[in-house]
């Protein structure tokens, strides 16, 4: 029934790998290897040396050097890439002391860095790793007009420096009533006001940049972390990740991008299927909400088929685990892709949306997202169709280290 993970060779190394060997020499044999960089390989072998993929091909063309740890699986895929999460910041217990994904003291705080908040040891990071997720784009959550920065991390490592792939990936913005305030002195209280304060902030950032450029060295304006970050968005050094679900909010996001000539990525985008032409014309990628998000409030019209509708219209998409303020405290992006695969995406499209397509949208496709020589040795091993409810992830490898052998 279940394909046992470790079969031969250096079986005894087993768990000690987790703590000791930095970059083991590993070979994985798969009945089917989905490389995501060309056709899948029947009876394929992937060899990892010093954390990087060194060989990939059919078993009769790849020789496994002596002494390598050899693992077997029915299905081998690249380590999964979760294109948007809050895991590591929104901790497992959901109490104040482990919830660092949102800071409500001001509506616009792009200076908040995810690396200052990500807990590499949160149990939910471990949880998603056991399903094959090796890379996450995580950080500040939807819920303020600009809530802070995001980062890209591997799901295994001791300190933030061990796991960080990209320190500052995007700046997270929310155009939705979820980021509006109730009560008299609170602002922004309406959609109109929210756009107004966002626009004002960008205009201030432009002025700040101009002052910096013009002023003599001794007359430079004081360093302003917030405006500095907004300036990076204006310079298109960093993208604005805009969470917007209702069609009108998506349209506002596109309008903002056009006015300030900035690069944006649409996030969640429950009603994106109503604006396919507009999104396509703007050339904006979409990180679609988890298929199994609750269909309430701004997302009451969400569809299991949104990912398929956008993908088939030629819009770049990826899937995500998203943010959840109750249960399940973290979603598993593999499960979300499974629902998309059952609702219009082909198997390859669905797998791409949590591997190479996600890596491309995040700009880390040179490192992760496919099984190619020179890329990071990140693999996920399954005992059957990874999307099937009753299949199991039987192993996860990050940078050549076996980081999970739990059968789950």
């Amino acid at each position: 029934m279940m394909t046992r993970l470790i079969t031969i060779a250096v079986t005894t190394i087993g768990l000690s790998l987790l703590s000791t060997a930095a970059h083991a020499q590993v070979a994985v044999r798969g009945q089917t290897v989905y490389t995501m960089s060309g056709a899948s390989i029947a009876n394929g072998v992937v060899v990892i040396d010093d954390g990087k993929i060194s060989q990939v091909g059919p078993a009769n063309e790849v020789s496994i050097p002596a002494g390598y740890l050899v693992l077997d699986a029915k299905i081998v895929t690249p380590g999964l890439v979760d294109a948007h999460a809050t895991v590591g910041l929104s901790g497992m217990l959901n109490y104040k002391h482990d919830q660092d994904q949102i800071e409500h003291s001001a509506p616009i705080q792009p200076e908040l860095r995810a690396i200052d908040a990500y807990n590499t040891r949160d149990e939910l990071v471990t949880w998603i790793r056991t399903f094959g997720v090796t890379t996450v784009h995580t950080g500040h959550a939807p819920g303020e007009t600009i809530s802070g920065q995001t980062m890209i991390a591997k799901t295994f490592g001791n300190t933030i420096d061990d796991v960080t792939l990209v320190e500052s990936a995007m700046v997270a913005a929310t155009l939705s009533p979820s980021a509006l305030k109730k009560g008299k002195p609170k602002s922004p209280g309406t959609r109109g006001k929210q756009m107004a304060i966002l626009r004002e902030k960008f205009i201030k950032a432009r002025e700040y940049q101009q002052k910096l450029a013009k002023a003599e060295d001794d007359k430079k304006p004081d360093r302003d972390l917030s405006l500095e970050m907004m300036g990076k968005i204006l310079d298109r050094e960093i993208r604005l990740l805009i969470t917007a679900d209702r069609a009108q909010d998506i349209a506002s996001a596109l309008r903002l991008a056009k006015e300030f000539n900035i690069d944006i990525v649409l996030d969640s985008a429950a009603e994106a299927y109503l604006l396919i032409d507009e999104i396509k014309a703007a050339g904006v990628p979409v990180i679609v909400h988890p298929a199994m998000y609750r269909a309430v409030g701004n997302r009451k019209n969400q569809s299991f088929e949104t990912a398929a509708m956008l993908k088939h219209a030629g819009i770049p998409i990826a899937l995500q685990s998203g943010f959840e303020d109750y249960v399940p405290k973290v979603r598993v992006v593999l499960f979300e892709a499974a629902i998309a695969a059952a609702n219009g995406l082909t198997f390859d499209e669905a797998l791409s949306s949590i591997t190479i397509d996600a890596a491309r949208i995040l700009g880390v496709d040179k490192r992760v997202g496919s099984i190619e020589i020179g890329k990071d040795g990140d693999l996920a091993l399954y005992d059957g169709d990874p999307f099937e409810y009753t299949s199991h992830c039987i192993g996860t490898i990050i940078d050549g280290q076996v980081v999970s052998e739990t059968i789950r």
Binding site: E123, M292, R294, A295, Q302, S303, T306, K329
Partner: protein
């Protein structure tokens, strides 16, 4: 205007009387039948008449009556309509903030039958649900067992017992959800104490009732809360008890034993830690699975393997959506996830059908494909535990209430613009659902 409306309604009624599916024998031919109470039957035939299952068996063994409406369902799978023992759809509101124990509150006084949740739920293959008030109280009110017949008012959905009474249980909770500022309890011990006090009062009320020997002059003053608790003490109303942590589970069992009430444990996140004790008590469990542990402290050890461990210990196990915690359209997925983590395939399918039916005292009417039971069933495109399988049709008492080939029904099954809105009112029967 009013005159025209009356005429329309009359026409609809007449039309219904003629076309009502119940009046004919319907033959479902060629599917794999998954009765739950018996081994699956490949290439089967099921006959339905007057809203009940008339016969089922291998195609070679069943004679299809002349004139029967024939449904070719070859290659499909038919299984009983799913039963969800714990559900919150309908925009409900149960007990309020005035106190922690409110047995007088009936949830059916708050259910909006036009809530889109009803359409999503039948799209997921669910035909019977137990709508309950929430877990923010030690006792948040009376629950309501409903058939998803479609319907214009809540009365159309009631399941009535042999006395004609709308069936339901009572909702209780322990652990952290029901703890808050006074008059609510601040600790677990206070929670148990408040519950015991109320049941002791109910016992006294019951004694007064009995002493009156049906003499109205001697009866105690009516107290609708106490009346509901007396029904619990008499075993007429099952306690549906929200509980997560291992010690809270044991507390619920202790209270059930002290007051001899019938109880179903709900959620039971840490049930795997006390599986043996639950099995010894003979109390059934309705478990919820979500995709990760945590979200609150008492759910940190919620594991996908819990239903499988309980099953192996000999506990009767059902599953529930807790909709809106999980979506009714994904109920079969939960069964599959239980199987993924070690529950038997048979046990997982039973957990979303017959086991749940038994926990709401309806095991003799629904939950399996058996002759004489209500014709509540679903037609699936394939293996019930596969992600790729779709619910194609849902039937309740011989009427089709969901058809994936109908554009409007599909909208609720898949989602899309308008799926979140209230339903259009029905004027009659199930014509709308049948796409006519």
């Amino acid at each position: 205007m009013r005159y025209i409306l009356i005429v329309c309604v009359l026409i609809f009624h007449t039309g219904c009387a003629v076309s009502r599916a119940q009046s004919d024998v319907h033959a479902f031919i060629g599917a794999t039948l998954t009765p739950i109470s018996a081994e699956p039957i490949a290439d089967g035939v099921m006959l339905v008449e007057h809203g009940q299952i008339l016969r089922l068996g291998k195609a070679s063994e069943i004679t299809i009556p002349v004139g029967a409406v024939r449904h070719d369902v070859s290659g499909k799978v038919i299984m009983p309509g799913l039963v969800c023992t714990h559900n919150h759809i309908g925009g409900i509101g149960g007990a309020d903030r005035t106190g922690p124990i409110q047995p007088d509150v009936r949830i059916f006084d708050s259910i909006n039958v036009r809530d889109a949740g009803f359409k999503r739920t039948v799209a997921g293959g669910i035909t019977t649900i137990n709508i309950m008030p929430g877990s923010g109280h030690l006792l948040s009110g009376q629950t309501s067992y409903l058939k998803l017949r479609g319907g214009n008012t809540i009365d159309d959905l009631f399941i009535r017992d042999s006395d004609g009474k709308a069936m339901g249980g009572i909702k209780m909770a322990n652990g952290t959800n029901s703890r808050r500022d006074a008059p609510f309890p601040g600790t677990r011990a206070k929670s148990a104490s408040l519950v015991r006090e109320q049941y002791i009062k109910a016992l006294a009320y019951k004694r007064k009732q009995e002493a009156a020997k049906e003499d109205p002059a001697k009866m105690p003053a009516r107290d609708i809360g106490m009346e509901a608790l007396v029904e619990v003490l008499e075993g007429k109303r099952v306690v549906h008890h929200h509980t997560h942590r291992h010690d809270d589970i044991i507390t619920a069992l202790r209270l059930a034993k002290e007051f001899n009430f019938r109880v179903v444990l709900h959620h039971v996140s840490e049930g795997w830690k006390v599986a043996k004790e639950i099995a010894q008590s003979g109390v059934p469990c309705s478990v919820i699975l979500v995709d990760s542990p945590g979200g609150k402290l008492e759910a940190r050890d919620l594991l996908l393997k819990c239903p499988g461990i309980l099953e192996k210990a000999g506990v009767k196990v059902a599953l529930h959506t807790d909709d809106w915690i999980t979506d009714g359209r994904l109920f079969l997925r939960m069964a599959a996830m239980a199987a993924r983590a070690g529950m038997s395939r048979e046990g997982a399918l039973k957990a979303v059908t017959l086991a749940g039916a038994e926990m709401i005292d309806l095991g003799d009417r629904i939950g399996s494909l058996d002759v004489g039971k209500d014709a509540d069933f679903i037609i699936l495109s394939g293996d019930p535990l596969s992600v790729y399988t779709k619910v194609l049709e849902t039937w309740v008492e011989g009427n089709k209430v969901f058809d994936r080939s109908n554009t409007q029904d599909r909208l609720y099954a898949v989602g899309g613009y308008g799926a979140g809105n209230e339903l259009e009112p029905y004027f009659c029967c199930f014509d709308h659902a049948e796409g006519q």
